[in-house]
Symmetry: D2
Subunit: 321 residues, 4 copies
C-alpha cells in the first residue's frame, strides 16, 4: 500500500497501534482512488477526510492517543498535573518546588531553562545550566520533566534532558521548529498561539505529526481578547471541542491563561470539568520574588489546595488525579 | 446623611439589608469629605472606591446580592437553572418545553417574545401574544418567567408579564433602555455585549443600579473571537472574576456562548465548576425545526442528562441544583 | 407589480430615480418567481441578490446614492467636511467653532446635544437646550446641522432640529431605534459599531432602508483592536470595500477613529485617498478644556491646516473639497 | 563612556552618524546616573527614555533612519516600490515579472524562495533554486532583491543572495531568528505579526537593533480582525503612529493587508497619503494561476495603473516615486 501511495506521488504517514496500521496521506479525493485502495489486500477501510489536518483529526484515528512518559499516561483516565516555576532560577529553588509539587500530587515538573521574552533586555533563563538542574530534580524526586525549546538549535540538547519538549505560544507557527520537533523521539506539548484559531493549532500539530512524531499533546493557554482585568482569556470550551476534532490529549495552562493568581484555582476546576487531560500550573516558593510571571504563580500551599479541589471535580466527571 | 450628600450636590443611592443601610454616591475623593461623613452619627464606616462602578462593586457591598423571585433565590447556594426555547413559537410548543424543563429541575422558563435579529427580514417573535403564552405557562407549571425587552417602549409591558426582564447583548450599551430598566421593580438579567470588557458590563449594570433598581444579575454569554468552529467564545473565567469584582449574581448562557449543541453540556459543567449562580439554556422539543438558534438548542432528553451531570459538579463545589 | 408582490406575501420597497423605479423585496429565489415578474409589462429586468442586505447592496442600485441637504450633495464629487465639537457645551463656544469651521471650508456643523456615555455619572449633554443652540448656529452661519439621537424617544425632537440625524456606534444594533430612523424624512448617518463587521453594518442600514428612509450614509469610526496607543483602529480600507458593496455614501470619522489629535490629519488624508465621500471631525476652541473627547479634538488652526492638506489629496484623486 | 557603562554592568549600543555618536544602554533611570554621564567629557546630552524599545524609539535618534541599498534610499523623500510574485515559481515567470515591475517604476524585486505555509502539505517554495533565480533577475534588471528567511538555518544563505532579508509576520516573535538577523550586515524588513500591537513590533525590532544591526525597516501588513470580506485589516494609521514612535522607515504591504485584488490600489493610495516610505506589492503575470496568494496579486497592467495613481498622491504630500 505504501509503495502504491508513493508511486502516485504522495507521502504516506504510518501509525501502528494494537496490531492495526493506519496509513495517512494527502491526495486527490476521488472515488476512483478510494476504490483502488479499498480493493488492495490487507486494507480494512479507506477514510476520506475533509479536514486539512489529516493525521491529527479524529476521522484518522478514532481512539484517543495516550502518551506514555515512564509509567505516566497522558490522555488516559487520570488527569495529569504538571507544575513548577516559570523559570528555573536556581538549584535550591527548583528542588524546593519539585518536592512540594510532588507531595501535592504532580507527576511532571515544569520549569523554563530557555525563556522567550518580549524584550531583548529581560532575563532569558539559565539555559544549559537550567537543564542540568532539571535533570537533577528528576533524579531526586522521580518526577518527569517538561521544558521549552525556543529554536531549532536547542531542540537536540533540550530533548536530551527533557521527558517532554514544550513549544511555546509565540512559536506555534515557527514551522522550522515544528519540523524539527517532528524528528525527535520525545513527546511534544504544543501551546496554542495567543491569537490562533483551533484549526491553526491543529495544522501546527500536523507539521509535527506528518514529520513522524506521533506523540503530540495540545495546550490551551489563553487567547488575547479585549479584556484588561486578565492577561489572557482562557478558552475552556476549546477542550471539549478539541477532544471532538482530534485524538490528541489536551492540556490546560490556567496560569498563563488568566495571568491572575486568584483565578488559577477556579479556572483549573472548570478545565477539568470540561474534560482536560492535564493541567500545567506555575508554582513558586515565593511568587512575589519570581524573576518572571510572579503575579500568576501559586505558592506551594495554594497548589495543594488546588489539587484538593480539582480532585473533587475529577471524581464528579468519572476521572481521578 | 442623605440630606448632607444632596447639599453637597451629589446623588445618593440607598441599599438596605439586614437592618443596615448602605448609602453610595459619586463625589470627590478627598480626605476631608471622608472625615465629614465618618463623624456623623449613625455612620459605621466610609468606604472610598476607585472603581468607576460605584454601586456594583464589592467594596460598596461585601456580601453577595441575593435576588428573590417567589421562593427562588438567585445568588445563594443553589445553582438556578433557566431553560426554554429561544423564541416562543406557539402555545403548544411552549407548554411542552415548560413541562419538560420543570421536570428536569429548571426553576425558571426562558422564551423570547421580542427577538432582536440582525436582519430586518427575520422572524421577530410573537410579541404580546408571546408574553401571554409565557404567562399561561407560568400558571400551568409554577415556573417563573424570564423574557427580553428590546426597547424602552416594551419595558412596561414586558415587566407586567415577566418575573425577570432580560436585556440582550446588543443592547448592553443602549443607555436609554438601561435607565428604563432602572425604573422598574422587577429583577433584570443583563447580558454581556459580544465584545464588551467586564468593566463595560459593570458600567452598564451601574446604569440600572444607579437609577434605583438593585435587582440586577449579570450574564456571560460568550464573546466574539477569531475562532470559527464556535459562534462565540464562552469566557468561563469571567465568572470567578466577576464574583470578585461585584456583589451581583452571575449567570452563564452556554447555548449562545458556544452556538454548538454538543458543547453545551461540557460548558455547563465548567461554568458551575467556576462558580456560576445559574445557567440559561436553550431547550426545544425539536431543535432541528426551531425558528431560531436550532443548532445550539438541546432536546428535552439532552437537557435531563445535562442536569444530571451538572448536579455532580455542583456537589463537588459544595452547592446544589 | 407591487400588488403582485404583496399577494405573494412579501413587502415591497420602492425607489424612484430618473424616471425608473426599482422595487425590492425579499422572497424565495426561485426561477419561476423570476420569470413571473420578468414577464410583467413595465418590468425592465429582475435581479436576484444573494446579499442579505437587499436594498443596501450595489446589485439593487448600481449608481451611487446622492443625499441632498440644502445645496450640499453627499456622495457626489465633492468631499464634504463635517466639523464641530464633540458636545455642545455652551452657546458662545459653539458659535466660535461654527464660524471657524465654516471659514475653513466645512459645510456641516457637528455637535452632540445627547451624549452616550459609558458611565452613568458622566456629562450627558445639554439635550434640548443643545438642539436650540445648534439651530441658532445654523441660522447664523448657514451650515447644516448633524447631531445624534440616542433613543426612540429623542428621534422626533432631534429630527425637528437636525438636518442629518446621527446614530452612534453603540446603537448600531438598537433595532427599535433603527426602525424609528426609517420612519423619518431626514438623512441618517449610521456609525459602524466598534466591533461590527461590514455585513452587520449593512444589515443595520437595511433596517432603516427597508422601513422607508432611503437617505442613509455610513460612517467608519474605527474598530476595537488590541492596539493600545490608539483608542480605535480606523479601518480605512472599509471605504473602497463599502463603495463596492453598497450604493450608499461613506463618511470617515478620524477623530474617534484614532483618538489621538496628532493622527487626525494623516488619517484624513488617507481616508480621502481611499475614496471617502466626507469627513466628520471634532474641532474645539480649546481642546484641552473640552468636557469630552479633548485628546482627539483639533483646535481651529489645526483644522484649517487639515483642510489644506486634504484638498491636495482630493485633487490627486480627481475630487474637490 | 563605553567602558564606564560596561563597568556598571550594562551593555552599550553604539550608533554613529554625521560625526556624532549615540550610545544607548538599558540601565537604572536614576538621577545620579544621569549626572555621572552628563559630566563626562565628550558627552553632549543624556536622554532618558521610558519606552521599552530603547534603540528603536525616536528619543534615541531624532532623525529618520535612511537605509541604503545600492543607490536606493529607503526612508528618504522617495517612496520606494517593491513588487513581484508571492513565490518564485519558475525562472521564466520571475524574469517576466521582474522586467514588468521595473518598467513600471519598482526599484526592488520581491519573491519568496522559502514560503511559510499554514499547512505542511502546501507548496513551500523552490528554496536555494529560488534564490539563484532571484540573483539572476537582479543581474538582468538591476533591481535589488528582497526575500524571506524562515529559520536561523536559512539566514546565512538567504543573506548571501538577498539585498534585504525579510522576516515574516508569523516569525515576528521568533526571538532566535531576530537575534540571528541582528548578526548580519544586510538590511532587514520586519513584518508586523498578524495580531501584534505596535509596541510588540517595536520590541521585536529592538531584538535586531540591540544585536548590532541598525538597518531595520518595519512593515505593516494587516492585522486579524472580525471582518470576513477581507483577509486582514490594513492598519494604515499605524504608519504615522510608527513614524512618530520610531526613527525606522515604515513600509506597507497592501496585498497581504487586504487579500483582495480590487482593494490593493485604494489601499496603496491611502498608505502613501498617510506617509508610508514604501509599498510591498504582489504582482504575478497570471494571478489566477498563481501557486499562492493569487486572489490578492495584481497583473502587470494593474500594477502600472497603481503606480500612476500613487505618483499623484506622493506629489500631493510632497514626495515622489
Amino acid at each position: 500500500v505504501v509503495r502504491r501511495i508513493e508511486e502516485l506521488g504522495f507521502r504516506p504517514h504510518l501509525l501502528s497501534e494494537g496490531g492495526r496500521t493506519v496509513i495517512g496521506f494527502m491526495g486527490d479525493e476521488t472515488k476512483s482512488m478510494q476504490s483502488t485502495f479499498a480493493a488492495m489486500s490487507g486494507v480494512e477501510s479507506v477514510v476520506m477526510s475533509r479536514k486539512p489536518y489529516r493525521v491529527a483529526c479524529r476521522e484518522f484515528k478514532a481512539e484517543g492517543t495516550i502518551i506514555r512518559v515512564g509509567d505516566i499516561e497522558i490522555g488516559a483516565n487520570r488527569v495529569i498535573l504538571m507544575a513548577g516555576p516559570c523559570a528555573v532560577e536556581s538549584r535550591s529553588m527548583l528542588m524546593e518546588v519539585a518536592h512540594a509539587v510532588k507531595e501535592a500530587g504532580a507527576k511532571i515538573l515544569r520549569g523554563g531553562a530557555y525563556k522567550p521574552r518580549t524584550s531583548p533586555y529581560s532575563f532569558k533563563g539559565l539555559r544549559e545550566k537550567g537543564l542540568e538542574i532539571l535533570a537533577e530534580a528528576r533524579e531526586k524526586t522521580g518526577l518527569a520533566i517538561i521544558t521549552e525549546a525556543m529554536s531549532i538549535q536547542d531542540v537536540k540538547l533540550v530533548s536530551q534532558y527533557a521527558d517532554i519538549l514544550q513549544i511555546g505560544a509565540r512559536n506555534m507557527q515557527n514551522f522550522a521548529l515544528l519540523e524539527e520537533a517532528g524528528n525527535i523521539k520525545k513527546p511534544v506539548l504544543l501551546k496554542r498561539g495567543m491569537m490562533a484559531t483551533l484549526e491553526e493549532l491543529l495544522m501546527a500539530a500536523e507539521y509535527i505529526l506528518s514529520n513522524g512524531n506521533q506523540q503530540v499533546m495540545l495546550c490551551e493557554r489563553g487567547i488575547r481578547t479585549f479584556e484588561r482585568y486578565t492577561r489572557n482569556t482562557l478558552d475552556i470550551v476549546s477542550v471539549p471541542l478539541l477532544k471532538d476534532l482530534t485524538h490528541l490529549p489536551v492540556i490546560v495552562d490556567p496560569s498563563h491563561g488568566t495571568g491572575v493568581r486568584g483565578l488559577v484555582k477556579p479556572a483549573s476546576r472548570a478545565a477539568v470539568a470540561a474534560g482536560a487531560d492535564g493541567l500545567l500550573i506555575e508554582v513558586h516558593p515565593n511568587p512575589d520574588e519570581a524573576l518572571s510571571d510572579g503575579p500568576q504563580s501559586l505558592c506551594p500551599e495554594d497548589f495543594r489546595n488546588l489539587v484538593d479541589e480539582v480532585k473533587k471535580i475529577a471524581r464528579a466527571v468519572g476521572r481521578e488525579i
